[in-house]
């Protein structure tokens, strides 16, 4: 997956869980969980949607890397290489 597709997929996965997410004002390095008020159930759903859409198996060990848009995209790029 190339970085731009990965970033799109992360954004879409967030939107699927938080439909009102203001992604335009979210910086690539902002901690989105706090900025978008995602609670732990939201975050769990986000991880599930992201795994389903990307086909990447996301272990609980990995979730601590999914903190920002760019870190999440980097994670997908690395795992689909």
């Amino acid at each position: 997956m190339n970085p731009s597709d990965a970033l799109d997929m992360v954004r879409e996965s967030i939107s699927a869980v938080v439909p009102d997410a203001d992604l335009a004002s979210l910086g690539p390095d902002d901690a989105f969980r706090e900025a978008l008020e995602m609670d732990s159930l939201d975050f769990l759903s986000f991880v599930e949607v992201l795994a389903e859409r990307s086909g990447v198996r996301i272990e609980d060990e990995d979730t601590s890397r999914l903190t920002t848009l760019s870190a999440s995209a980097d994670f997908l790029v690395a795992r689909t290489r």
Partner: protein, 596 residues
């Protein structure tokens, strides 16, 4: 599936505080429990004196009261002596603002050190503390501020901007907004918490406080109408103290971690008051749930007693299943852990057994409500656990099961109820009135308060059965209130919010069973004529709900249904929606509903 009873070690390394259940129950009196507290020097009883000043005055003022883990994992500590000074400062801040006895101080904060200062300083000043959940949206926040007569709100700049600023004029009684951390200077009509604190003296004499003075206000949700503000008084501290010993096995040398949010009653009774009264060291985690983070905190902080919730445990079970691998839990030294308890919704037997295998300790479920103020039914450290059961009544607690009438609630005939005598028969759980932390009212709503009692019993609204040996088993709610991730959500509040959307004609809201959260909020919506049910509209309604209600309350699922089932009087029948959702027959349920 049958789960075998978990038996306890007959000679544990640390003998539990309650070692003989029957003996403790027969010997216990609330007046004795009252005698275990210090009381104010001049007489009277004040929660903050018991929780802070008493320890600071004794020789253990230098003991760590709060061990705060920040989001960035850095750890800072606050001693009992320092907490006494900070809470004195905050009490002086309130006094200087003209806020006094009985005046309401609200918090909208995460688990930051200032939360503890605000709560305990408010109690010192004999003002009343009302905590709000920071995941509430602007609607629930505004409504509770208004219903609770908020005079002071302590929050952060970000939360204020997001949830309060635009609604400020709708809450005219809100005189003071104190901003914790940076940002107050950019917000009109607010003041900096830190500035006020640094200008205030650090000594304060607690004014005379009667045990019956109002101390805490906790909002909870009902089936209909507005949220209810449950009033608790200073005397509740007697029950906080006694039950933390019997049900949580808490003792002064413990390092204790309660994961509940301070916006809910557990986060107050057992997240702040009870543990501090016992003089323990309290672990305060400002961060969000993350399996590794939680195992690390349990290990590094050397937590001995852990009080958490089923949803959190089920998330940990997904991350680190019972079948293994055990790499993550074993990466940390959990050997200090002695007791694990859970509350908020029924704990499934798998989670009890998972605890035994993965944490090395079974999880002890217990039961109570906002209205009860303290744990009422529990599995005890010294006693067998029947996985899936909420346990047995605490010393000092008289519980029963009542026969139900046609509306599903306890049947009351000429003011009398009927107790279920046979084991295993479902009925409404009821508690004999008179324990110290029993709520003293719903604020401004005597009618609803009076309706919660009959024949000397408090009617809980929870359906249970009691087995032949006296263990209680949760069955469900007797009303339509939704339990999601341990929190009560009133369907009416969600329906009202959705109906403000121009596309929505009517809405019926239920809890849909969910393997992690217990239930999630699902809304059935009928649309106005000419509006099409499209995926875009579905997303728009989900977004609309979140913006208004916040993630804690908003629906997570929307279904369009132009033929919502209704009673003859036109009320949406949630029971039928629930039965349909579960694939249960709806016929016999609808007759129940027709009696409304």
């Amino acid at each position: 599936m049958h789960w075998e009873t978990i038996h306890k070690d007959t000679a544990p390394v640390v003998p539990p505080r309650l070692s003989d259940y029957e003996g403790a129950r027969s010997a216990f009196t609330w007046s004795q429990a009252r005698g275990a507290l210090a009381g104010l020097p001049g007489g009277g009883l004040n929660m903050a004196h018991e929780a802070v000043d008493r320890h600071a005055a004794l020789d253990h003022g230098e003991k760590v009261a709060l061990s705060c883990v920040a989001r960035d994992d850095s750890v800072s500590t606050v001693t009992y002596a320092e907490l006494a000074r900070r809470t004195a400062r905050f009490a002086n801040v309130l006094r200087s603002l003209g806020v006094g006895r009985g005046d309401r101080v609200f918090t909208l904060l995460g688990r930051c050190p200032e939360l503890y200062t605000t709560v305990l300083g408010t109690l010192k000043n004999t003002s009343v503390l009302c905590p709000l959940f920071s995941a509430f949206g602007p609607d629930p926040v505004e409504q509770r501020l208004r219903l609770g007569d908020a005079q002071v709100l302590v929050t952060t700049a970000a939360l204020y901007r997001r949830k309060v600023a635009e609604r400020r004029t709708s809450v005219p009684g809100l005189k003071h907004v104190l901003i914790v951390g940076p940002g107050a200077e950019g917000l009109p009509d607010t003041a900096s918490f830190d500035d006020l604190m640094s200008a205030a003296p650090d000594t304060f004499t607690i004014p005379p406080t009667s045990p019956e003075d109002m101390a805490l206000l906790h909002f909870t949700s009902g089936t209909t109408g507005t949220p209810k503000g449950a009033v608790h008084v200073h005397e509740a501290v007697v029950a906080h103290h006694a039950t933390a010993a019997s049900a949580l096995d808490l003792r002064p040398e413990d390092v204790y971690w309660c994961t509940a949010d301070p916006g809910w009653v557990t986060g107050m009774s057992y997240g702040i008051i009870a543990p501090l009264v016992h003089g323990v060291t309290l672990v305060v985690d400002e961060g969000d749930y993350d399996a590794r983070r939680w195992y690390r905190i349990l290990g590094e902080q050397r937590v001995t007693v852990w009080y958490t919730a089923p949803t959190a445990l089920r998330m940990l079970m997904r991350a680190t299943p019972r079948e293994g691998p055990y790499d993550l839990p074993r990466a940390f030294d959990l050997s200090a852990l002695r007791f694990v308890a859970s509350v908020g919704e029924p704990l499934n037997p798998e989670a009890v057994v998972w605890g035994r295998d993965v944490l090395g300790l079974p999880v002890h479920d217990n039961w109570w409500q906002t209205e009860t103020g303290c744990i009422m039914i529990a599995n005890f450290a010294a006693c067998d656990i029947r996985p899936g059961s909420m346990g047995r009544p605490l010393p000092g607690v008289d519980a029963t099961v009542l026969e139900r009438g046609e509306d599903g609630r306890a049947r009351v005939v000429d003011g009398k109820v009927t107790e279920v005598e046979s084991p295993g028969v479902e009925g409404e759980l009821a508690l004999r009135t008179g324990w110290p932390s029993m709520f003293r009212g719903y604020l401004h709503d005597k009618e609803r308060y009076d309706a919660a009692f009959a024949d000397g019993w408090y009617l809980t609204g929870d359906l249970v059965r009691r087995d032949g040996d006296g263990w209680y088993w949760f069955v469900g709610r007797a009303d339509d209130v939704i339990k999601s991730a341990g929190h009560l959500i009133g369907p009416f509040e969600v329906e009202s919010a959705l109906m403000e959307h121009p596309a929505v004609a009517e809405a019926g809201v239920i809890g849909r069973p969910d393997p992690v959260a217990g239930n999630v909020v699902k809304a059935f919506v009928s649309l106005r004529p000419g509006v099409d049910p499209t995926p875009d509209l579905e997303r728009e309604l989900l977004a609309f709900g979140r913006r208004k209600l916040g993630p804690a309350v908003a629906p997570r699922e929307i279904a369009f249904d132009q033929k919502l089932p209704k009673t003859r009087s036109g009320k949406v029948m949630r029971r039928v929606l629930r039965a349909r959702e579960l694939g249960l027959p709806t016929g016999d349920l609808s007759t129940l509903e027709g009696s409304e």
